[in-house]
Structures are given as C-alpha cells and as structure tokens.
Symmetry: C2
Subunit: 427 residues, 2 copies
C-alpha cells in the first residue's frame, strides 16, 4: 500500500509548517530536568499533550513484581524512578492498516558539573541550528518528532488508519523497565518505531547492558599505622584491574561475531561512579564503584553476570586482603540482553522508502553498543522495531545538542512511514 | 623541687577516688558526636566544666587572617570548623612554680559506616575494662585526664603554684589551626603537656603532615563511544600511581634520618576519600581524591608541597589525556611541619620521674608518624612539649576504645607531673 509522491510531499510540507511549534514543544521538554525519579512533570506534560490531540491516555505505574518475574526485568532499587508510564492511544474510524507503537523516553542522565556547560543544561538555547541541553538529543527531540509526525497528518486532514500507541516511558537510562512495563501492560502492535538519535541511520543490532556495583570494605586504622590496615579504595581499584582484563578477553571473543566482529571494541566496561572513604587521614573502610558493561546479543544477561562474578571472585581469592574481605557485586540496574533486527521486514522496507524520499540517500544501518529500549519489542513482542532518528552530539556529555534540520528531516520520514505503514483515513 | 613520695601516693589515691566521676565525664564527652564543625556543644560543656572548677574561661574564635599569615597555619576552607577555642585559666595565689599548658582536642574523625561498629559509635559502652566509642581514645579520655589530674590536687586541698592554661581545642584532625590559635591568642608557658593516647610513652618526634585534594576533569561521552572520551576516575588513579612512586622515593630518603631512619615506612601517602562521576553509563567527567602525606621534621611544608606538585605536573605531561587536562592540586587542610623534642629538658625529667613512680617502669619514647598539635608549642612557642597519654586502640577505625586502667595510671602520672612542675600551694 505504498503511498504516492504527492502525499509524501504534502506530509513533508506539513512537517515544515508545524516545525516552529515542534521546536517550542521540544524546548518545553528540555526545560524539565527529568533525571531519574524526576520525570513526573514531563510525564504530566506528555499526558496533556496527547490528550489535547484527542487520544485516550493511559497513565500507569511500574508493577515491580511483574518486572521482577520477567526475564527482561532489570534490577529495581529505591534509586529507581516511581514516575508513571504514559501511553496515548489513537484508534482509527476503521482499522484497515497495520498497527504501530511509537515510543520514546523522557528520562535523562545527570548533567554533571554545571560549570562544564557553555550554557545551563536545562536552558534549550538554539545556536547555529542546534538546540542545546541535557536530553535535547537523548531523546526529547525524538519524542517530539513522533508527536509532530502525527500532527503533520492531521494538519492535512488525515489520520492513521490503524491503532497507534504513543508511549512515553521513563527508566530508559538505568533499567529499561519503562519499556518493559508497556509490554507487561499488554500493548502490542505490528511494528514499533523509536526515534532515538541515530545520525539518520537504522539500528541493525545492539548490545546487552548490565549495571553493577562493586563494594569493598576494609579494616580502617589511623594512617600512622597504615601497614596494619587495608585501604578499601586501593583494593577496589585492584578489582577494577581484573575487570579490565576480563573486558579485553570479552572483546577478543567478539572477533568472530557476524555483526560486531567488525567493531574495534564493542564491549565497553565503564567505571562510571566511585565513592569511598570519609577522611583524608583515615585509611578508608569502604569503597563503592558503579560499573556498566555490555555483552553480545546472543549472550544472556545471566550468563554475562556469572562471568563478571567469577572474575571478581577469582581475583579476590588471589589477593591477600580481598581473600578475607571478599568484594560484593550487586546488580543495580540494567540486566538487559541485546537484539538484532532481522533484515527484510516490511517495516524496514517502508522506512527505507520514506528515508530515500525525504533524505535522497539510501538508509544506512548501524550497530549500537549502548542499551536501547528497542530490545523489549524485538525480544518479547517479537516484532520489527525500527530505532531511527536524528543527528545529535554529546549525549551523556556536556553541551549535548541536537541538529534541528536533521530533526525536521527525520520527522518528515516518520510521518511518511506512519502514513505508509498504517494507511490513512480522513480525520 | 621534686615532690616527696608521700605527696605522690596521696595524688595517686586521689585520682583513684575521683575515677568514677572521670569515667562518667569521659562518657559525656564521647556521647557528643563532635566531628569537624560539630564541636560546639562539647566546647560549651568544657567551658562549663572549667568554670565550675573556679577557672577563668576564655572562649574565642579562629582568626582566619592571623592563621593565614602564620607559617604554621594550615589551609582553611568552608569545610573547616567554626567552633570556638576554650581556655581555662588557673592563677595561683602566688606564682612560685613553673607555668604549664595542658592541651587536648575535642574534635573527632568521622565514624564511617555505623554497621561496621559492634556498638554505636557515640555510645560509650564499657566492656572488659575498655571504653568504646569514636573519640574515646583520640582524645577525649586524654582531655578528661588533664581536668581530673587538677581535680586530684584540689581533692587533697592543693592547687598548682603557677599559672596553668587548660586548652580545649578543635581542628586537630584536619588543620591543627586550633592549637595554633592558642599561640596566636598569646598563651605561653614554660612547658606543655598533651595527653594524646600514646601507650604510656613519650613522643620524641613526629612527622609533618599535608592534606591535598587532587582533581581531574575529563571529557564525558556516552559509554557507547568510550574511546573518544576520557575517564576522569581512571585518569585520577593513574596520578595516584605516580604519587605512590614518589612515596617510595621519599621513604628511601628517610633511611639516613637520625630518628626516623629506623622506621620501616614512616612516610605514608593515604588515599583517604574519593568521589567521581554521576552515572554508570556516562564516562565520568570528574574525580576528586583527598590525600594525606607525611614529611620528615626537617622538611618545611612548602618544600614537601612543591615536591608533590612537581610529581603531579611531571606525570601529567607524560600522559596523553592529562597533558591536555592538567590535574589540579589543592591544599585543603594540614600544612604542618614535624617537631623533635630535644632530650634532656627539665620537663621530660619531671615526667620521667612521675611515670616511674606510678607505672614502675622507665618512660619509653616513641616516634609518631601522624600529625600532633604538639608541633605548635615545640616549633613556635619553643618550649618542651610532652605528648604523653594512655593506651587506646583503633582510633580513626571502628570500635575505637581506650583502656580505663591505663587512663587511671596516666592521670596519676599527670597529677604528679603538675605538682612537681608547677609546685603546689593550699587551695
């Protein structure tokens, strides 16, 4: 049911007509500092935005028990978000097309020291065609793209001729439990599209990701008697050394992987956060390190976790201090497997055509070494999931920014994809 | 003016008679969690205790400018204490003896994770003859000793026949500025005694101590692109490696030192506290490490500091990331030189006799590789300073405790020392 060029052009023009409003909507999202646990106001904003567009809106909480029972559930602690999930529901007059999930996350990672930003992190300043701000790229511009792609249809008197679920989720940055919760709530469709920033490319596969916290406790003493005490910070860093060796082993093993074998160093271990000790003149009694590591799509999270635990245990046995004070490994976030988008799906073909029509280039595919919510739809809904979006830079860094021309282009691609995939009917 | 055995015996008995009250007083001190900045209530308690004993009491604030101008002034920041210094002043009816400063500090180091204590850190539980609690040993038992040594004289109708300044100070655990402030306020005497826990030994010399904070900033990115970012935590730990090499160099240089040459490893570098990064999946942008290092008595703090700064600068130049992102070294506490108690003083001889009389053993001397307030009196007042006190364990650690039999013995020694050094007169 390929759409004709005239509809394509009308949609592209309609996206352009709505773009000032889209930029302003994106700025509203960026102004809300929706770090983990602080997504309440932005989710209320999304619920109002979807409701004002005539959608039914379902606002629901995480079901911790259901998440804990599911193999794709990541570990939950009090540090995780209690903000709700918001789903806007579009029903056509008559269901003739293929249904679709449009998904985006509104949580953002911490902004870090404010003085390392050129402009304040939650001030969506536009300079030279880029909008700046924490979350501007990852992925508030993408969330706005999906909403305004639907608006572009409506502006020319059309709407999808199939059910569309617009899912605004949280917890993408530390567990992926928000996306999983939409699955557990029962939402299903024929395909899913997630407008994560991706340099206008389609994600072919991504890695699994695990989070863990390593804790070492030591026997503290006055530093004058340092020889008789054990420094928990130094001991923890010795464990990091052992984990770095495991990281190299794991990367060596990826060489034969059909997709990630071409990647120089797909498995990254990140020492993301460290805290230890209380006083410069006391030998530190404790140290906690927050780590993140990836695993290949075919590796289960449990298998990857066993490997890490074995590495820590084996190293500890060989260390005179750690043998008596074994480090603790706690899984405190992502416990998620990677996925692979099988080539050849109708959904991919439909996106490829829309992309070629708007961008004038073939759609390139990419491998992603980070966590993506797409895994939920690929692994558990078992549907084609298109992770596709605009160009952004420095996400998780300072001066994060998103390219507005790219946002407009990819919004037009998404509008054409929706029209083609779902079909259209008059409003 | 050696005192006779009968007075010695009466004083020892008088200390025993007052000991239940002394234990209770010490427990009161331990119950107050007087970590840095939180010494206000314990200083009020001390002021009331000294006033109730008929002393004039001088309560005064730190003079930051005067401290900054003095070569023995340590670096002050907003993290340091604003609690006052308390000095109780005893004047005799007629000044016939030698004047004395009795000094003690009431600040304590942080207690660390409460669950690593057998009993709560500020609950002065007595088990098997030891009183437990943060600060019980370092040095609230010592502060109480000095007060109750004077009480022991009064109980038998005597008082020192010379001026005695009882100084209760703060900031011994991070700058030594409290002790320096008593010097700047103008207090002087013929000798000083500080009842720091010392296993019933006299300190012959101690090391200088410096505190600094090392800060590294990195370029953060999403961990998926880890190769293009620099991990500030890893980079900071590379600097620690360079500082560890300097530590070994400095220890090698101590071999020829007349006093510390016999010590296996006098110069300890402690990595006491670390903090860095905000998120497991973001390459960390910052890391701060609080360090403490010692230097030999003859080395000035400025000289030791230059050596450390040069080490950090030289290493940074050789590191591809740090060369462009030079680490910052900030002196944020102790900037203090060591001291040496010259053998042969009258004060030492007087203490030796009191010690032999009570303990029945020769007075042993010891080298201390930690900071001691004694340096102020030795270096700037240029008087004999006796750092002498009871047996305590695990100070700066968990389950810190002080041996009560040892407290009673050393209190008797101090009482005899006061009577002998200052002379006595009827109350």
């Amino acid at each position: 049911m390929a759409i004709d060029q005239s509809l394509r052009d009308r949609l592209t023009n309609s996206v352009a007509a709505g773009f000032p409003g889209q930029v302003s909507f994106t700025q509203d999202l960026v102004r809300m500092p929706s770090t983990r646990g602080n997504e309440h106001t932005v989710q209320d904003y999304m619920a109002r935005a979807l409701r004002s567009r005539g959608m039914d809106v379902d606002v629901f909480a995480m079901d911790d028990e259901a998440i804990a029972r599911h193999p794709g559930g990541s570990r939950i602690s009090s540090t995780h978000s209690r903000a709700p999930i918001v789903v806007g529901i579009h029903r056509p007059r008559k269901e003739t097309g293929r249904s679709l999930i449009l998904q985006g996350h509104v949580d953002v990672v911490p902004e870090g020291p404010a003085d390392m930003w050129a402009t304040p992190p939650y001030d969506p300043v536009i300079r030279d065609g880029w909008m700046h701000g924490r979350g501007a790229g990852d992925m508030k511009a993408g969330v706005a793209s999906a909403v305004f792609a639907l608006d572009a249809l409506r502006r020319i008197g059309l709407q999808p001729a199939a059910t569309v679920y617009m899912q605004s989720v949280v917890e993408e940055e530390s567990t992926g439990n928000g996306a999983l919760m939409t699955h557990l709530r029962g939402y299903r469709a024929d395909a899913a599209l997630i407008a994560e920033p991706g340099n206008e490319g389609l994600t072919r596969a991504n890695l699994g990701v695990l989070w863990f916290q390593l804790e070492v406790r030591g026997i503290p003493v006055h530093v004058a008697n340092m020889g008789t005490g054990a420094n928990a910070i130094d001991a923890a860093y010795r464990v990091v050394g052992a984990l770095r060796k495991l990281e190299e082993e794991l990367n060596a093993e990826t060489a034969s992987h059909p997709l990630f074998g071409s990647h120089l160093h797909p498995i990254n271990l990140n020492i993301g956060k460290i805290e230890g000790g209380d006083w410069a003149s006391s030998v530190p009694a404790w140290c906690r390190i927050d780590c993140r590591i990836a695993c290949l799509p075919e590796t289960s999270a449990a298998e990857a976790a066993r490997r890490i635990e074995a590495c820590v245990t084996d190293f500890a046995r060989s260390d005179s201090f750690l043998a008596n004070n074994p480090p603790r490994v706690e899984w405190n976030g992502f416990f998620a497997e990677g996925y692979h988008l099988e080539p050849g799906s109708e959904a991919e073909r439909t996106l490829t055509e829309a992309h070629r029509s708007v961008i004038g280039q073939p759609l390139e595919t990419r491998l992603v070494t980070a966590y993506l919510d797409a895994r939920v739809y690929a692994l558990y809904d078992r549907i084609p999931v298109l992770n596709y979006g605009c160009t952004a830079e420095n996400y998780h860094g300072f001066d994060e920014r998103v390219n507005l021309a790219s946002v407009q282009r990819t919004t037009a691609v998404i509008a054409q994809f929706i029209a083609d995939w779902c079909g259209v009917e008059p409003v």
